[in-house]
Amino acid sequence: MKVTDIVKLLDGKIICGMEHGDYAIEVAFASDLMSDVLTLKNDHVLLITGLNNMQIIRTAEMSEINCIILARNKKASEEMLELARENELVIIECRYSVFKTCGLLFEAGVKPIF
């Protein structure tokens, strides 16, 4: 599923990495615990989180994640966006809860890691 299709499905907004709307997303993982995210072996996982701090961007950088959804209306700070741009990340803001976001993506065929 393309990033642009995900944005439509979630009625969200790309706030960083607009030029990467063609990224293909196959698997996703939802967590507010970055240590959990850092145990994942897969690359290019879509991360869904309710956190909005610098560490989610750093975690994405270390884990080869290239797209993050900030659920439940969390907003990225300018500092986060700067780091995200440096790492060519896509950040999507979405007002739905983590649960609803996951449900919609699962229904649309995005796969869980395990």
Binding site: S31, D32, L33, M34, S35, D36, V37, L38, T39, D43, T49, L51, N53, M54, Q55, I56, R58, T59, E61, M62, S63, E64, E79
Partner: protein, 144 residues
């Protein structure tokens, strides 16, 4: 950075309590390893381990230094901190055990997974600590 016959050395300072900057050193190390064309799977294991360790220094210590050595055979990362130290290393290595503050937990860490995850990613891990002095963690990754 300094370069002798076949080993490269890098050093980074880590400031205890500065969560905004946590991960900066790991990020720089990742850039260097990419420039050196290190295998991506090894880079990921290295920087995940290094980042968890860097977050540990920020979360628990007053200050620290990360020393990186890259040779043709391996990458060695030594994190030396001044801090409270670890009274019981076996306990600290147990999954789920943590003494992290609520601030650390709010950042998405402090669930007692850092050290076990570092161990899983590293080819070799050596941890030593002295209470009220500090902790030294050495992570080694072998290319072959």
């Amino acid at each position: 950075m300094s370069l002798d016959s076949d080993t490269m050395h890098f050093e980074y300072n880590v400031e205890g309590g500065n969560f905004t900057r946590a991960g900066y050193a790991s990020s720089e190390i990742k850039k260097i390893l990419k420039q050196l064309n290190v295998d991506m799977a090894i880079i990921k294991r290295t920087v995940v381990a290094c980042y968890e360790a860097e977050v540990n220094v920020v979360a628990h210590a007053y200050s620290g230094t990360i020393y990186v050595n890259v040779s043709s055979e391996s990458i060695t990362i030594r994190l030396v901190d001044e801090g409270p130290g670890i009274p019981d290393i076996d306990l600290a290595m147990q999954e789920g055990y943590s003494t992290a503050s609520s601030k650390v937990r709010e950042m998405g860490f402090g669930a007692g997974m850092g050290l076990p995850n570092i161990k899983k990613n590293a080819d070799k891990l050596v941890l030593s600590s002295e209470v009220n002095k500090g902790t030294t963690l050495e992570i080694t990754m072998f290319f072959n």
